[in-house]
């Protein structure tokens, strides 16, 4: 067995095992940590097939940002996961049936795997001496500019949605206004009071 195959089985095995632990572990914080382990292993798999840019992206975006954000949410929210699992046994037969059907379908699909006529021709080997990032950059803003811009609009909608649904303008809240702070003069800030001697303010 070559070294690459050894690493493939290592990464793939750990990824599947930790993905299972994500749903199996009782403590939600452990779940998120296992999720991070899954991502790291997946990025290892990407490196094995020579997609180092995607591997780094996975680590930076998913591990660095998304999973950490997840961790914060899990720690901040008081979600009773034991209570959430109460109906587990009740739904097990139906869920198990659906899962079994999915598994059977996957086996059937993988068992009958044969590439279409166009596939083997369409797969282009990476040009030597050009890094992944350059190659993605070359098509992302030319051939795929429509998808790139449209995906940007989807993100814009997500941002508007998050603000619309959560931002509340409350009355009676003191807000910081930097221009007002900067424009303060001595006259506005200090009030000189002549205090008669022998009396308090």
């Amino acid at each position: 067995m070559s070294l690459a195959a050894l690493f493939f089985y290592l990464f793939a095995g750990v990824a599947v095992a930790s993905a299972f632990m994500v749903i199996a572990s009782r403590n939600p914080v452990h779940s998120v940590l296992f999720l991070i382990l899954t991502f790291v292993n997946a990025s290892g798999l990407f490196i094995l097939i020579g997609a180092e840019y995607l591997a780094m992206l996975l680590v930076v975006v998913y591990v660095g940002a998304v999973a950490v954000l997840f961790l914060f949410v899990v720690m901040m929210l008081d979600v009773d996961f034991v209570e959430l699992r109460q109906g587990f046994l009740q739904y097990l037969p139906v869920g198990g049936l659906v899962g079994f059907i999915f598994l059977a379908e996957l086996v059937l699909v993988v068992g009958s795997w044969s590439f279409g006529q166009g596939v083997t021709g369409a797969v282009v080997a990476p040009a030597p001496g050009v890094s992944n990032a350059v190659q993605i950059g070359r098509v992302l803003y030319t051939d795929y500019v429509y998808f790139f811009q449209a995906a940007g609009l989807v993100l814009l909608v997500a941002m508007i949605g998050a603000i619309v649904l959560t931002l509340r303008h409350k009355e009676n809240v003191k807000r910081q206004s930097i221009p007002v702070q900067n424009a303060r003069t001595k006259a506005m800030a200090i009030d000189v009071v002549k205090v008669p001697s022998g009396k308090g303010l």
């Binding site: 379908e105 059937l108 699909v109 009958s112 795997w113 044969s114 590439f115 279409g116 006529q117 166009g118 596939v119 083997t120 021709g121 369409a122 030319t142 051939d143 500019v145 429509y146 998808f147 449209a150 995906a151 609009l153 989807v154 814009l156 909608v157 997500a158 508007i160 949605g161 603000i163 619309v164 649904l165």
Partner: protein, 475 residues
């Protein structure tokens, strides 16, 4: 290959909508809540301008390596989607203001959702289809929860979001299978490769169709519809019923016929089943509903079933039937919701159909138009709803699908019961207290929709020929 600005001409309506949405967002963010009226007005103007640009635009074009298709088909459906979105937005402005739910983001989200619909209608490959679908749906999830102080509205938004995400996942899984087994994401290239059905391709078809059936709310992927329609604010429900259904059905038909024409006998079974199940559920489940919004949800499930009869036929006649059906469906939906939106008493909105009791005596004109719409929804000749059903069933019979056509006619007889019950309540029951006077924009929409359904049979020529030309573009 460099892309010049002039080459983007065919996508001008979409560019206009995207740019105006972004500019209005900036305007609203800087001016604050008092910009709501201006933003609403400008958003309506942008929808109208996009409509004009779609009509004046080129008849045939393909952009971005075939990801964006402009043809007679896309033009016909874009006009429909824009009219539906514009009508729904115009009807919602006053209502939201009275209910104190008005905010400037609403119109912008409607604009962006409409943009998603137009991208969906023009989609020529799987990525464009998916992004269009997400852009449309994401904005819809947000406006379903527009009334965030109401538990029902929030629940509607969350339910729609979770189930929508699930259906997107199914669609993506199917799309990846289709890509894996055909080696292409472009519809035309998929059609070239997919001449023989393979197991993987069939699974891909099943999963993509499941995702698309969710978006058109066809049985068995309809569960969300009644709850979301009832929970969302009524103008939002109007928008849901009018515009996104049309775009989703449009891309369903285009995907089935452009990408998978050679394996039609594989997906026809799915469409026939979904169509029969939707027609049956739409007819039977609506009988027990008292809430008009829920009733309209079941009615829309049933109508999507009828429209799918045309797709099941898989012929040019069938597609023409689908297009005519969608046109008539949109008019009837907008008209009916104009009535539901005007069911306001002094102490607030009412939504149950028995509140319409004796409407014929309190406001006879409105009752007359609503009765016409109900007769048309039930499919009683010679109204528009009858002609729409006639063309889809005719296509099914010409394609030799007699069972499907017979079941369709039978379910439409069952469905007639609850439409006619509303007419009976309006004309023969003791009058309930009168409603507040109807705002002028609702009057206008109701009058146009009512006259359209009443008089469609007198001069159906232009719409029939436009639908025929649009259907030819797919074959």
């Amino acid at each position: 290959m460099t892309l010049t600005l002039a080459a983007l001409g065919p996508a001008l309506p979409e560019l206009l909508l995207a740019i105006s949405a972004i500019l209005l967002l900036l305007f609203g963010a800087f001016v604050g809540p008092r910009s709501t009226d201006t933003v609403n007005g400008l958003a309506l103007a942008a929808l109208f301008a996009a409509l004009v640009l779609v009509i004046l635009g080129p008849a045939q074009a393909s952009l971005f390596n075939g990801a964006f298709q402009v043809d007679a088909y896309s033009r016909f459906l874009k006009v429909l989607a824009l009219i539906g979105a514009g009508g729904a937005l115009a009807m919602s402005v006053d209502w939201l203001k009275i209910e104190k739910q008005a905010r400037f983001e609403y119109a912008i989200l409607v604009l962006l959702s409409t943009l998603g619909m137009m991208m969906l209608i023009s989609a020529g490959d799987l990525i464009a289809l998916y992004i269009g679908l997400e852009l449309m749906s994401l904005a819809l999830y947000v406006i379903a929860a527009n009334n965030r102080d109401s538990v029902r509205s929030t629940e509607a938004g969350l339910k729609y979001f979770v189930l929508g995400a699930l259906s997107s996942g199914m669609f993506l899984y199917g799309a990846s299978l289709i890509y894996g087994f055909t080696g292409s994401i472009n519809f035309a290239q998929i059609a070239e490769v997919a001449r023989e059905p393979s197991l993987g391709l069939i699974f891909g078809i099943v999963f993509t169709f499941a995702g698309l059936c969710f978006k058109v709310s066809a049985v068995p992927f309809h569960m969300w519809t009644p709850d979301v329609y009832e929970g969302a604010p009524t103008p939002v429900t109007t928008f849901f019923a009018a515009a996104p259904k049309i775009a989703a059905m449009a891309v369903f038909v285009r995907f089935a016929l452009e990408a998978l024409p050679h394996v039609a006998h594989q997906w026809q079974q799915i469409v026939v089943f979904v169509s029969i199940a939707s027609m049956a559920l739409g007819s039977f489940a609506a009988i027990g509903q008292r809430n008009l919004k829920r009733l309209m949800a079941y009615s829309s499930i049933g109508h999507m079933g009828f429209a799918l009869v045309g797709l099941a036929a898989g012929t040019e006649q069938g597609v023409r039937g689908v297009l005519i059906y969608l046109t008539v469906y949109m008019a009837m939906t907008l008209g009916t919701f104009a009535c539901i939106l005007s069911m306001r008493r002094k102490d607030g909105m009412v939504e149950n159909y028995d509140e319409l009791a004796g409407l014929a005596r309190t406001s006879p004109v409105k009752a007359f138009f609503l009765a016409a719409l109900m007769f048309s929804l039930a499919g009683i000749p010679p109204l528009a709803g009858f002609l729409a059903k006639y063309y889809v069933f005719l296509a099914a019979i010409e394609a030799g699908m007699y069972t499907l056509a017979v079941i369709g006619v039978l379910t439409s007889v069952v469905g007639a019961f609850y439409y006619l019950r509303i007419v009976k309540v309006m004309y023969f029951d003791e009058p309930a207290p009168a409603f507040e006077p109807m705002p002028s924009e609702l009057r206008a929409v109701l009058a146009v929709a009512g006259l359209f359904t009443l008089l469609f049979f007198v001069y159906p020529g232009p719409i029939l020929s436009a639908a025929g030309a649009a259907a030819r573009a797919l074959f």
